[in-house]
């Protein structure tokens, strides 16, 4: 339900920013009793894709879904398997990123289907139905809410069903803190690139 609300903020309703990974991640973590993993996952997703911006008709990967899924999955793994927070966040991020890209494809389909709805609204207006646009805008929000909530639930079920060995992958490296520092370096490099190069 919370992801449904957050997802509507990304494009459809307001774009107030509470759907940004930096905010959505900790909220998801808090809901599952571990906001710390939400802070880390949110921070990483926010900065990894900081240069990916929606220009014109381009649809970027869904950073909200990625952050929320990574936070929820990491919180679940940390609680159920007794893994430390950082070691849980890294594999959660690795598996959530493709889900964010997959959700982008669902978003593209949803936006493509909107064209037909707008054409139907035009016909209805010509026939004298002046409230059709209000109705369709309302349905669009409801549709987005349920589709994103369903997608999140399916993705969460799949990710949390991954074998325990996957979640313990950081035991092999024996240095989850170091891996996380490497990710932070990437995050800051993206940030510098954004502010120094973007005009």
């Amino acid at each position: 339900m919370i992801f449904g609300v957050l997802s509507c903020d990304t494009v459809l309703v307001g774009q107030f920013m509470y759907s940004r990974p930096l905010i959505a991640g900790p909220i998801a973590g808090l809901c599952l009793g571990n906001p710390y993993v939400g802070f880390i996952a949110g921070l990483c997703v926010e900065l990894i894709w900081v240069r990916v911006i929606p220009i014109g008709d381009s649809v970027p990967p869904d950073s909200t879904l990625t952050a929320v899924l990574a936070s929820a999955a990491a919180a679940t793994a940390a609680r159920n398997l007794g893994i430390d927070n950082i070691s849980a966040v890294i594999p959660a991020l690795a598996v959530s990123v493709p889900c964010g890209i997959l959700y982008k494809m669902a978003e593209i389909r949803l936006r493509a289907s909107n064209a037909g709805i707008v054409d139907a609204v035009r016909v209805k207006i010509i026939r004298g139905d002046f409230v059709s646009v209000d109705r369709e805008i309302f349905y669009a929000v409801i549709r987005k809410f349920f589709i994103s909530a369903a997608f999140f639930l399916a993705a969460y079920a799949l990710v949390t069903a991954l074998p325990e060995g996957y979640w313990r992958v950081m035991d092999i490296t024996r240095g989850s803190e170091i891996v996380m520092r490497f990710i932070y370096i990437l995050c800051f490099a993206q940030l510098f690139e954004m502010f120094l190069k973007w005009k």
């Binding site: 920013m17 940004r20 990894i48 990123v97 707008v118 004298g128 190069k197």
Partner: protein, 257 residues
Amino acid sequence: MEVEKILISKGVLKKVFFRSFLLQALWNFKGMQNAGFLYTIKPALDFLYPVPNERKNAYTRHLDFFNTHPYYASYIIGAVCAAEERYAATDSDDELARIVGIKKILGGPIAAFGESQIWGTLRPFAAVIGVFFIILFSKNIALMWIGPAAAFIFYSSVHLYLRYCGLEDGYKLEDQVFEGLFTGKLQKSFVYMRITAIVMAVFLLVRGFLGAGPSVMLKTAYPVVFIIVALFIKKVPATVLFYAVLIAGGLFARFCY
């Protein structure tokens, strides 16, 4: 003879303001923000065109292609409201062409401007504020919430200011509002945001480097990784780079540390 204008009431403009938050609700690849624009401006059109046939024409002309930055769109919405007001009073073809012109001519430049200033500066700057506090208070979870809260408050205050003042200024000044938009104080503040963000990011990076512990291996690895990432950052997509760093970090931790 001066034609008497039907003035859109403040209540109607308030409705337009609240509806502008749903500008992108029916975003589509064909008309982009067309349905959202009609939905936003609908209270003004209903007020100006009580006759069904006129209302029908007004609705359908706003279902034509339209796309711009969602926040700066308020300037265009305000200007179009004023232009519609005049067209409703005069029924002149010039005024009709003006309505279409404002949307067609200004949509593109405003979109480019908004993408650079909002998506390219304000949003990452708000993220830097959030990241700054999260990392600074990383030992205390309760204080870490200052990060997202500060980012949200800062971003939303600029966002809501643009939406509200954009509509008001657009309505009052019409297409003249765009003359000062690209060069005014707002433009300067975005430059300061970029400088502040770079300073904050450098501070966090240096802090992270100093906190790397006594290991010489780690202290050497961080700048090396940063330079390598910086070299590939433009050529390699962000997602691919993320997995490359993940694997490199794992291998380094396993074999070199």
